[in-house]
Amino acid sequence: MNGIGVFVCHCGSNIAATVDVKKVVEMAKLEPGVVHAEEYQYMCSEAGQERIAKAIREKKLSGIVVCSCSPRMHETTFRKCAEKAGLNPYMVEIANLREQCSWVHKDINEGTEKAVILTRAAIAKVSLNTSLYAGESGVTKRALVIGGGIAGIQTALDIADAGYEVDIVEKTPSIGGKMAQLDKTFPTLDCSACILTPKMVDAAAHEKINIYSYSEVEKVSGFVGDFTVDIRKKARYVNMDKCTGCGACMEKCPSKKALSEFNSGLSTRPAIYTPFAQAIPNVPVIDPSQCLKLKNDKCGLCERVCQAGAIDYKQEDEIVTRKYGAIVVATGFEVIKLDNYDEYAYSQSKDVITSLELERIMNAAGPTKGHLERLSDGKAPKNIVFIQCVGSRCADGKGKSYCSKICCMYTAKHAILIRDKYPDVNVTVFYIDVRTPGKNFDEFYRRAVEEYGVNYVKGQVGKVTPEPNGKLTVHGVDLLDNKQLKVEADMVVLAAAIEPSPEVRNIATMLTASIDTNNFITEAHPKLRPVESPTAGVFLSGICQGPKDIPETVSQAGAAAVKVIGLLAKDKLLTNPCTAKADELLCNGCSACFNVCPYGAISYEDKLINDHGVRETRRVAVVNNALCQGCGACTVTCPSGAMDLQGFSNRQIIAEVDAICR
């Protein structure tokens, strides 16, 4: 390589104030291989880029170094500029003279000296650069949505409406998710089912949407544009094609002791069941842990009453393998277990409930048919205490450090609903802060206080004691009045924290998507790429990314859908050319690289090798360029140095080290 051009940018005075750019140019000219060096006010400007292009063309440069701001800022700009001028875009290196030199050093001598060294390092590196070319891979025009809650449904609908096929994989027998369990929604108090059910029906009816209910993702391989996913369709023991959804089986089923998941365990359901009346698909499943036929080969009643002949006790799990271009994770949330919070007596008293349980109690289809009553004795409560932040905002490690975000609003909603329907019930809310950012949220909260006379107490509750008379004593503190409080209550409602569904861990591993300490999936960028995961082709919808309320979830679902549509609209994807590459002459086939590759990009082949005249068949590593993301883990684990990373090769990095230590 003998034609390197160096372009030093002043960046106005950003660089030039603490770096003598003329000196940098002068020193660069002395470096081996450098045939051209110049400085300019703004290299990134059109005029600056034209200078670079001109030099590339006129001096037939084989590589360029731009001494400017961070490569994170303008590397792409200068690569494009080089490409336009006929130079391979990967023959460009950036010396970061702004963020990592002029802006952090005040003395011009020091700054200049460092700038010269950084420039040398970039020259040393670029002289070992090789032209790299982005590969292409195809796109399977179908998306997979994992999770059939409101997030998944909305994402699927939006993608399908754009004309692409979508599969929804939902682990429970019906789509609908947590929203289906809610009674009303804040701040407008619409009936949750009334707004959700039509969407569920739309999804089921959409010709582009295919729902795998009672199914789970078993295995994911492949990469953006070309994922292969194994879906386990759990045995339903009911033939979906034959079932008419008449419900006779459920009525006749003699085993009715199982706790209803849909009613948060507050009522029971038969062994053969649909989670709720509006379930989609409206096809029941048999719970094998409850079914007498499956357990003891007795009963068989449902088979007899089913006129459609849909019952099939011999049904087995089925694995379906499907190809997808993109995957959306919409796995939602669960309410945390309250084992760590027994001071609130959740395990001791039936009248201490979670807010989600209250939703079911308030719901007309719920265990109490919508009557507000104590679960212990069925009496109407007179005093209800709500405790906020149970397990949220915990600094002590007992619960979650984050704010669950939705609790303040749903508690206000519950308080209003109760006061509205039962004006004689006293409602007290213990809170740390009331957080109401959102359209019409604060107004809603103020209505609870001002219109509905809900008693908000700023302070925490230390203990709830069940009394012998069936009442509960709430020991709290009022921080504003600075006094201890003892409130007698008939019912205590805990705003328990929410956490990502437990299966998200497993799914994240399969997708090689990273999760944070709270099990939320990490977004590619917290601000600028909030609906993408760092793994290309994997997108995030709903609470799997962080706590959200319904409107936020729906908008994120739409955003994820748009990202998916944008991906599926392409016929070809360009792959990152900075990938690992194995030198088959040096490869031992030892599998060390395979063991550390996070993307499963390395496989082995038995190949006939000609090693300087020695011909033999050897087991050698082969990198799939479409899968490789270029982290370089394999390059270090490889003892012989057979594995190298294009764009960051061993010799390039060593050349930089040498230049810096010169």
Binding site: L30, P32, H612, G613, V614, D658, C661, R662
Partner: protein, 342 residues
């Protein structure tokens, strides 16, 4: 014949080292190798064999030939200086002395190796007759008498004294410098010592090994033998035998990138290495069998064919001692003997 008290050894060395460097066997971290003498050196003349032979004094394991310096885009080249100071190589055994003779054939014939020659011109060799020869020794097979070494001066360890026998002009000059420590001596104790050594030599297992079948051997006859196939198998392709050998003279020339230029140096190479004589088109010896054969063919056939029958093995036995796989030249010689008798 002169002599000096063993207790005066340091005095003698100090006298010499005032003006000249002395290379001699020094014990360091449990091993004895040639090193430059200083007042802290743990001089060890008792250990029979240094790990590396004395050849490294004249032909170091690695030496710079020249250095190129970059100054901007200009390149300046600095030739490495030749040896110009006198030095003494002290305590060399007979086999190693012969080893240097072998190297002379290579480096002093045209084209002369100037680095080597300069060192040879300035070095005085003080040899030392072997005290207690060991089982791996077989110098006698090459006509070397370890009881009477060549060199500029020959030393004999006799009781409380080292006897000092001057052999050359260089030796005489050195003797004059050391006159204050040396005194006149009779030859009888030396003769006695020599007989003692020769008697032990006659008992050693390898000393009477026969090289007859190798004298005037044709290349084809040995080269194409099946024996190699068996012999090379244990070889691990390390360079131990080559690097401890007093006569192996192959070297590689490499460049080392310094901060502002390049240092061109040469270093010992080993025909056991897979990249030995590697060329752009590939390698002319692609298997370890070929590389293994090369070494012994060179010692026992090629070298004598080009040097009036002089073998380039001196029977020091270092490879016998050090080969990690116990493969060595003795096993080669014996295997061919057996093959010949078959």
């Amino acid at each position: 014949m002169k002599k000096f008290l063993k207790s005066d050894l340091n005095a003698l060395l100090d006298i010499i080292s005032e003006k000249e460097r002395i290379y001699l066997p020094v014990s360091e971290a449990g091993q004895t190798n040639y090193a430059i003498y200083n007042e802290n050196s743990k001089v060890d003349l008792d250990t029979l064999k240094t790990v590396k032979s004395a050849k490294e004094v004249f032909f170091p394991q690695s030496e710079t030939l020249y250095t190129a310096f970059m100054d901007g885009k200009k390149i300046r080249i600095a030739q490495e200086e030749l040896e110009k100071e006198e030095f003494v190589l002290f305590g060399v055994k007979a086999c190693d002395v012969r080893g240097i003779e072998v190297l002379d054939k290579v480096f002093l014939s045209e084209p002369v190796d100037s680095f080597y020659k300069a060192r040879r011109d300035h070095g005085v060799i003080v040899a030392l007759a072997c005290g207690e020869p060991e089982e791996s020794c077989f110098c006698k097979a090459f006509g070397i008498d370890c009881a009477e070494p060549e060199g500029d001066v020959a030393l004999y360890d006799c009781g409380d004294y080292y006897f000092w026998d001057v052999k050359t002009e260089k030796g005489t000059a050195l003797t004059e410098k050391c006159a204050s420590v040396l005194s006149d001596a009779e030859e009888a104790p030396v003769k006695e010592k020599q007989e003692e050594i020769r008697k032990i030599v006659s008992l050693l297992p390898y000393m009477n090994i026969s090289l007859d079948s190798w004298k005037g051997a044709t290349t084809d006859e040995k080269f194409n033998s099946d024996v190699w196939e068996e012999l090379y198998k244990p070889c691990l392709a390390c360079g131990t035998c080559t690097f401890v050998c007093p006569t192996c003279q192959c070297y590689d020339i490499k460049d080392y990138k310094t901060k502002n230029g390049v240092q061109r140096y040469r270093c010992w190479d080993s025909c056991m290495y897979s990249d030995f004589t590697m060329m752009a088109h590939g390698n002319n010896r692609t298997s370890q069998l070929q590389r293994f054969r090369q070494r012994f063919m060179h010692k026992l056939v090629y070298f004598p064919a080009n040097n009036d029958g002089m073998f380039s093995c001196v029977g020091c036995g270092r490879c016998v001692d050090k080969c990690p796989a116990a493969a060595n030249i003795i096993k080669v010689i014996k295997a061919f003997e057996k093959e010949g008798n078959r």
